[in-house]
Symmetry: C2
Subunit: 283 residues, 2 copies
């Protein structure tokens, strides 16, 4: 496995890491000037921009777009909402293409509120992804199904492990068209006893489209907004990247840290500098 | 699947559900008088009692002990602490026998603090369980490995799914001696895409030693102490009990709710009465 020392061009910053404090055009320059090779922006900041202008700025700054975050949740309490969710994702796929994103990150949604139907939600998910697949193919941006930590199964994602995401890929896209794969985020998957086995399967099928790093703090205060900086927690980051790259992944390593009470309060330049240090020393 | 209406003798109360507010002898009477058939006490309340007297009170109240909570965490930062943890669990197994407990509930412990060695922690776990197995056999109380929700992988349990727990059972106790099995708690397992398959495997091997219910609230405030009452959350309780009983489990259904800001503040009689109602109506 290649060391990341001096290899920041192999690393990307998800804009959530910086707390969405500055406008996106400012953030693009901050990330590029810090020496990183990629950026992963969010829809809420992209959709308020003039997208072609933004795309040109990112390209001219020398940044790759490692992922466009993220899908509208798919499972819904009724058919009309399900339809609206799918149409919303089609529109976002077109924007992902305008940005030349390496993938559209699919955070798929939880159990429709007020129900106990996780199995039904998973069925809706399969149906929705199947409908989106030809759109992804036609715009040329693959969808990256991101299994989320099981702590989010109720309200954010009924897709919770790499092997479950791979089963969905194989169900909906058996021909492995190149338009459907997975995003692996260490925060969501570090605990999984099947991590190494399922990552190898995903890589052998060329399905790994993104790799996200941060850390899980031993005494996590908030499972949504208290992610740790790489090296500050319990995740065996080196072994996990080894597995992902051994499986054939050659894309960028993206830092995604939601940290309301710590990193989002620090200066952007300090956060970027520590991200760089830790990518080199512990990832 | 048999309805639980009028079948409270098939149901048990884990004393954590009542918030550990009254002394255990009082709680035993409260649970028995409410009509339940079982109790699951905790070591901290048992160890401050005269255990033979307590055991007699429980027996005379007509209650089964559905589980003795819980093991000392096993993985440790050094060998001396590991040894102390094992010896502590041996002592607790003897107390479980004095209580005539149906099982000793094993919450196995997380990643040793300050390390990133989840794999090493899992190896320590296998070694520890192997050493405890002959003790469990000699005192006549089986150990129930309880897979905990992956949100606790850092600091409470590196054992996180039913299939992982079953793999450990089969590794350490290949002859299926009757002294090692699993506890299934819906809070920990409801999200698992492999729940139905792995539960069937566990049941066919006669490894299911306990079944715990509560609910996962859609907007959970605290993953440790904000469990919901059955029926108030997203868990498909009826399908899960169906799977567990279809797999051959014939033991009691135990209610275990940690709820600092809600149920632990209500009158014990109200809590027991609502537990009974919900066991009958949604479990």
């Amino acid at each position: 496995m290649e060391s990341l020392v001096g290899k920041l061009h192999r690393c990307s910053i998800n804009t959530a890491t910086l707390g969405h404090r500055d406008p996106l055009p400012v953030v693009v320059d901050q990330i590029a000037q810090a020496g990183f090779g990629g950026i992963a922006p969010w829809r809420r900041e992209v959709e308020e921009s003039h997208i072609p202008t933004l795309a040109r700025q990112i390209r001219e700054a020398g940044l790759k777009v490692t992922g466009y975050c993220r899908s509208t949740y798919i499972p819904a309490i009724n058919r009309a909402t399900f339809r609206a969710n799918i149409e919303d994702n089609k529109k976002a796929l077109h924007d992902a293409a305008s940005l030349n994103a390496a993938c559209f990150v699919m955070v798929v949604g939880g159990v429709p509120e007020g129900t106990t139907d996780i199995n039904g939600a998973r069925e809706q998910l399969a149906e929705g992804i199947a409908e989106l697949l030809p759109v992804a193919r036609s715009v040329g941006v693959p969808m990256a199904l991101e299994p989320l930590h099981p702590v989010y199964a109720a309200n954010r994602s009924v897709l919770n492990t790499i092997s479950q995401a791979m089963a969905l890929c194989n169900l909906v896209d058996p021909s492995n068209s190149g338009s459907l794969g997975i995003a692996i985020d260490v925060y969501h998957c570090w605990w999984d006893p099947d991590f190494f086995k399922s990552t190898m399967c995903a890589g052998q099928a060329n399905r790994i489209l993104a790799y996200h790093v941060c850390d899980w703090l031993y005494g996590t205060q908030d499972v949504l907004l208290d992610r740790g900086m790489m090296g500050d927690g319990v995740i065996d980051l080196r072994n996990m990247r080894h597995a992902v790259e051994d499986a054939g992944y050659t894309g960028l390593i993206e830092v995604e840290i939601f940290s309301k009470n710590n990193w989002w309060k620090r200066d952007v330049s300090e956060v970027l500098s520590i991200c760089a240090e830790r990518l080199e020393s512990v990832c």
